[in-house]
């Protein structure tokens, strides 16, 4: 059936098409007071590549990455900063990309899961997640790994946490520290124990 043949698009292609139509129908003029979308140009670096986009000011960093740059590794879970699936690293710090406007990232350096490693050359954390089965469905995994990367850097930089016993002493990695610091990344499948094992292996230099 021809109609069905037309529908043989992958889910990703459908979403990409949808996004393209969305951009095409947006008027270029900005008139927010009358409720019309406001369009702005923004440039930032993603995984080492300079990107310039013209975006509706409402576009979150997450939607810019996924819908405009087709970097679909970063996931949209709750879209309200509660689940951590959208975690990316901006100028060395992990943030919820769903709670940040793309236009507020002029000149920033963004690292997503695609920038940490590749299928041919996995980041040590990615390899450890595979080795320890640190997931079931995998939807939260890119956020977990970006978050874990930043957590290890935060501990190295001496940033304390809620479970740090002595605020004035040097911060040491521990599984308690890791669990507390990763509390903004929810795993609906409950793969937490394997996630802790994977990150601990990298933190302790056994990976």
């Amino acid at each position: 059936m021809a109609i069905l043949d037309d529908l043989q698009l992958s889910r990703r292609e459908v979403m990409a098409t949808g996004a393209a139509i969305g951009v095409a129908t947006v008027p270029a003029a900005a008139d927010a007071a009358s409720g019309q979308p406001s369009i702005m140009k923004v440039s930032f670096t993603v995984n080492g590549q300079r990107q310039t986009l013209e975006l509706d000011t409402r576009t979150t960093l997450l939607d810019a990455l996924r819908e405009h740059l087709k970097l679909t590794g970063s996931k949209k879970g709750c879209d309200h900063g509660q689940c951590g699936a959208c975690t990316v690293i901006v100028d060395g710090r992990r943030i919820n990309s769903c709670l940040s406007l793309a236009v507020m990232h002029e000149g920033d350096e963004v690292t997503t899961i695609e920038g940490l490693g590749s299928p041919e050359k996995l980041h040590p954390l990615q390899a450890a997640f595979v080795r320890h089965d640190g997931y079931q469905c995998g939807y939260c995994t890119p956020g977990q790994i970006c978050s874990a990367k930043a957590v290890l850097d935060e501990i190295k930089a001496g940033v304390p946490s809620h479970v740090t016993a002595d605020l004035t002493a040097k911060i040491q990695f521990s599984e308690d520290e890791l669990r507390e610091r990763m509390s903004g990344n929810i795993c609906r499948c409950g793969a937490y124990s394997n996630i802790v094992a994977a990150v601990a292996e990298v933190a302790e230099g056994k990976a």
């Binding site: 900005a30 927010a32 007071a33 409720g35 019309q36 979308p37 406001s38 702005m40 509706d56 000011t57 409402r58 979150t60 879209d79 309200h80 900063g81 951590g84 975690t87 710090r93 992990r94 943030i95 919820n96 709670l99 940040s100 406007l101 236009v103 507020m104 978050s147 930043a150 957590v151 935060e154 930089a157 001496g158 940033v159 304390p160 946490s161 809620h162 740090t164 605020l167 004035t168 669990r179 507390e180 610091r181 990763m182 509390s183 903004g184 990344n185």
Partner: protein, 316 residues
Amino acid sequence: MRAFSYERAKSPREAAAAVAADPTARFIAGGTNLLDLMKLEIETPARLVDVNGLKLDEIAPTKDGGLRIGALVRNTDMAADKRVRKDYGVLSRALLAGASGQLRNKATTAGNLLQRTRCPYFYDTNMPCNKRTPGAGCSAIGGFTRTLAVLGASEACIATHPSDMAVALRLLDAKVETVTPDGTERSIPIADFHRLPGDTPQVETALARGELITAVTLPKPIGGTHAYRKVRDRASYAFALVSVASVIHKDGSGRIALGGVAHKPWRVEAAESALPRGARAISEGLLAGARTTSQNAFKLTLAERAIGAALAQARA
């Protein structure tokens, strides 16, 4: 989300003037609370004035031995600052008890103070709420009240203030520095910064329209044992049912402030003279006038016991 125009402010005064002149404009800094509320169309600004470029992100000593913490200092950086950790441990602890690592990396000093309540009825746009629509009524009264206020509430609103940081600032007698649209600067004691709901729960702070927070100042260190004990439904990344900020001195005197119980951080200085006589003694004054429901009466017992735990921790 409704459409909005976006601009980057060039000076604090200019930012204040821009927002003062346009009732549809809002400041944006970290954006973690504002954007959440904009997605739900609880907040519907037509214009956002980004204040992130205003260089209000330094922590510096004051001439009277305290610290001046810029409005744009990220919560992570305030909590990690060596001077804050050493001399104002309760503040560092309160910050680290709040939100998640990702959120603390974006959230700012001023934004933390100005965050809105997490009352479930404020968030549910299908239910009347006097904060969202003044005069519409309060759905929380007579509703699900377990997490809501037991002190200082009114017939119009029983929401709590969600901040942990603000509870520590209240304990430390911090001041909120602002600039008004005409360039005047003022310094607001934290005790007067957040308001009780009264008949106007939509008015949450002492700020005038367009008035911009530039910093929070801490008086010189007061010594003592600092602690922030937060009781919540999860071990991490949850709002407080009750929290206790405490500074206890060797002779048993000290200060106590509570979070999770009122529309603002709750501290009763007059009750603190009872602190050396224990948790029950101070709780009598601190929790006087409480009005509870069958769902949230536990907060009074919990507050007293959490204060007891803080005292035991200080003695240990």
